[in-house]
């Protein structure tokens, strides 16, 4: 689905430059986003944690176009147009409320998602097969209304519909909380080196292994953006407290290694 050929993403120059998949500039939205500026390179798996907690979700919602920023600019894959002709079909969003009508069957949901993507019948069938396999949706569930499977099936189906587009950017807001931790982790270990994931979570520990970097939003701005490896090197856990402590330490003594890092943070 991506309009960017894989060969282009594999080009050595792009690997060095790492263009921004998601970029927001001076976003303002009430007290939750107050001049938030962030650039997420292609392929980064970024965990966003907020103080207050809602700010991370708000950032995801603004990026997905569900909440409007009072000011600021959002670019995805270098495009500012959120319509289907712009970056509309390059992203997928999965929030805490899956938004699937409970009377629909998983097959109907996926058919609708394919229709909205203008996929050909053959493409739709092939991708449906892939996402059904990835989400471990049992064949006998496919033709029953999702409410019969409860929240776990609804969330699996929502993830399958999101992956149907083979999105370049996946915006996740407290996703798949109805599933057990192991299954959730398996489902969210999405393949694809060029796929960018931005994940808002109130429980960072549950995202261990899923993300490569963490961003801390404090007072509506990016207070810190660091690699998960930096947390581990500092002997800090992947938790709100651990991320907060690292941000405090960096505020006192910014690490020299930050220079030249691909992700740009803070305004």
């Amino acid at each position: 689905m991506s309009s960017t050929p894989d060969a282009l993403w594999s080009a050595p120059s792009l690997r060095v430059l790492r263009p921004a998949a998601v970029s927001c500039t001076v976003l303002r939205r009430g007290r939750l986003l107050d001049g938030c500026t962030l650039s997420v390179p292609v392929g980064m798996r970024l965990l966003v944690v907020g103080e207050p907690e809602e700010s991370a979700s708000m950032l995801i919602r603004v990026l997905a176009g569900l909440s409007r920023a009072r000011r600021g600019r959002v670019e995805i894959a270098g495009l500012t147009d959120p319509s289907a002709g712009g970056w509309g079909r390059r992203i997928a969003h999965l929030g805490p409320e899956p938004g699937i009508p409970s009377w629909m069957t998983p097959r109907e949901v996926l058919a609708l998602a394919a229709e909205l993507l203008d996929l050909s019948a053959a493409d739709a069938a092939r991708r449906t097969e892939q996402v059904v396999a990835w989400t471990h949706t049992r064949p006998e569930w496919l033709d029953r209304p999702v409410r019969h499977g409860g929240p776990p099936l609804i969330q699996r189906t929502a993830l399958a519909a999101a992956l149907l587009a083979d999105p370049e950017v996946l915006l996740l807001d407290e996703p798949l909380r109805a599933l057990d931790a192991d299954e959730r982790s398996r489902l969210l270990r999405l393949p694809g080196r060029r796929r960018t994931v931005v994940l808002a979570s109130r429980y960072p520990a549950s995202e261990a292994g899923l993300v490569s970097h963490v961003a801390l939003l404090r007072g509506g701005r990016v207070a810190m953006l660091a690699a998960v490896a930096d947390l581990e090197a500092a002997g800090l856990p992947l938790s709100v407290r651990g991320i907060d402590t690292l941000a405090e330490r960096r505020a006192v003594a910014p690490p020299a290694t930050d220079v030249g890092r691909p992700a740009v943070a803070s305004q």
Partner: protein
């Protein structure tokens, strides 16, 4: 596509039945209770007014629910524009309500023409068009409120606004046909003998303009609304 989904959602949640039953019930009630022409017309007008309020309430409830349950968000993140979402829901609700209005009008006409042979069909039809346009206003009010408020609050606010418009048309003389609900007042006052169909057309025109304006406002509000 949004219209198709909306109709199915209305069907599954029994709101479609409530909407259709509201209008057809009015016609059936008028047909089943024998009365002289003035009473028949008053019952028909009053019933259609109540059904309009019901249509507005169901619109507000449905659209607020669509937002609250994240279904609107699901569509918008799949490149369905907010305007398409609003238009789809309006088309679904309006087509059902107009079908109900037509059936209620037909039953009302059959009942009235059984009581009096001198009722003017043209005037009755134009007043019914005015009533239909008023129903569209109620639906547009419901959708606008549904973009602003959630759940029961949206329903209560819509009922209050639509009922107030009806009361204004009924109680305040001299509003002409400019206030939505005037078509119901004129329908209630319809008696035997030929009359000019101007009042019904004027009421219909004013109501259609009102509905269009409300939809434009709803579109603008929805553009900034949380989904």
């Amino acid at each position: 596509m949004v219209t198709r989904l909306a109709v199915r959602e209305l069907w599954i949640t029994f709101r479609l039945l409530a909407l259709i039953a509201g209008f057809i019930g009015v016609g059936a009630l008028v047909a089943l209770l024998p009365a002289p022409l003035p009473t028949v017309m008053e019952r028909l007008a009053l019933g259609l007014g109540a059904a309009s309020i019901l249509a507005g309430a169901l619109s507000a409830w449905s659209f607020a629910d669509e937002r609250a349950r994240g279904r609107a968000a699901w569509l918008v993140t799949r490149s369905v524009s907010r305007g398409t979402l609003l238009g789809g829901w309006f088309a679904a609700l309006a087509s059902l309500a107009l079908a109900g209005t037509a059936v209620a009008g037909l039953l009302g006409w059959l009942t009235a023409s059984a009581v009096s042979l001198r009722l003017d069909a043209g005037t009755f039809a134009t007043l019914l068009v005015g009533v239909a346009a008023t129903v569209l206003v109620a639906i547009a009010v419901g959708l606008l409120i549904g973009t602003l408020l959630r759940g029961p609050l949206a329903v209560a606010a819509t009922v209050a606004i639509v009922a107030s418009l009806g009361a204004l048309a009924w109680l305040v003389p001299g509003t002409g046909e400019l206030v939505p609900g005037a078509a119901m007042v004129d329908l209630a006052a319809l008696r035997e003998g030929a009359t000019a169909p101007v009042a019904g057309l004027r009421a219909a025109g004013a109501a259609l303009v009102g509905a269009a304006l409300l939809l434009v406002v709803a579109r603008l509000v929805l553009e900034r609304a949380e989904l």
